[in-house]
Symmetry: C2
Amino acid sequence: MSDFTSDQKQSVYDVIRKRRDVRAFKSDPVPDETLARILSAAHQAGSVGFMQPWNFILIRGAEQRRAIWEHVNAERLAAANEFSGEKREKYLSFKLEGILDAPVNICVTCDPTRHGPAVLGRSTIRETDVYSTCCAIQNLWLAARVENIGVGWVSILRREFVQSALNLPPHVIPIAYLCLGYPVAFENKPMLETQGWLPRLKLEDLVFEDAWERPARDDFRSTVRKIDSNSPDNN
Amino acid sequence: MSDFTSDQKQSVYDVIRKRRDVRAFKSDPVPDETLARILSAAHQAGSVGFMQPWNFILIRGAEQRRAIWEHVNAERLAAANEFSGEKREKYLSFKLEGILDAPVNICVTCDPTRHGPAVLGRSTIRETDVYSTCCAIQNLWLAARVENIGVGWVSILRREFVQSALNLPPHVIPIAYLCLGYPVAFENKPMLETQGWLPRLKLEDLVFEDAWERPARDDFRSTVRKIDSNSPDNN
């Protein structure tokens, strides 16, 4: 029925399952061809009104990375105060980024003015251009994974800082600041799950039918439960 | 080097390339097991602070879909006034959604309060939970594609309308309203490209280095150009 064989299907489910947020990198460079393929995967994402609102800023300069790292580190320490006691200690023990270790950083941006002002499909929800950019980032992440390249999304930074550090025009939104490189390891599970920060939620509890909190049919719930618990990540 | 063979790698690049926004569906139902696998792929996305802020509301009821369709159709007609002349005619000729044809619709939501208020990694950019939800949607889209299921993202609707139609709590954000089913066809290119609405952008023009509008090294640009033009979508 499908134009994908069962082996091909499995490869796609495997990459989805094996993708991790990576924070520890080897210093080996990412070959140009590999990086270009990964960026090309991102650029093949769909976008509202075919806007293709994204740009990819490669950050290789040591000075720029040092400035970003200092900013992130200060914000990381400041955010520790949102937690207390044991949770605060745990938070501070986590390695949250690999800005200086990774051979390349990439800032993915969204330009809401591209092809505008009228964009097909964006008349009611303006942020759909941002949503498209995130879909492109997920493509990038999965393509990197099959290339054996780890990606870490650094979220503890302020937009204004990134805009100024990378000289972005004021209307261009930095959506993701990513670190890319060969990882020390791809872990089996997310670090925050392994470290007991938060539990993995059960998929069956997240699925409703026709309205919020109206549970799906019993037989569908049990199918969901079976597939969710067979996912190797949950073993 | 990679734990993915070159065939497996190719499968992942293939699904990324062959994913389309689908608006014309057959009425055949999506089997429960297939739908559960697709939702499980979404649930395996990474999320800021391991929030897993998403829910999936399956919409199968005829009455609810009719109400959504009427809203979308009214908004579609209203948005036509953003374009003029030939562009307006073209816009009105497009089939933009398959709400009533597709056997199942899914609203993917983001709950910004989950595990909150303090969320690891969300201290500086509050919308990172929305970004995570979009990454989950891209996983769903790609998993559907290998299952031979088409996904169409309907973006011409108002949040308040969806919140009220699906009885969402006021703090829960409907991110995507998706139609799922077996497609009449997976087109080779995006409809808006084929129809000449907008051109595909060249990837090399979207890649900068170390700052906005600072071009990447020449040899990297030429590698990007080669890979972008080899992408079968661009032939």
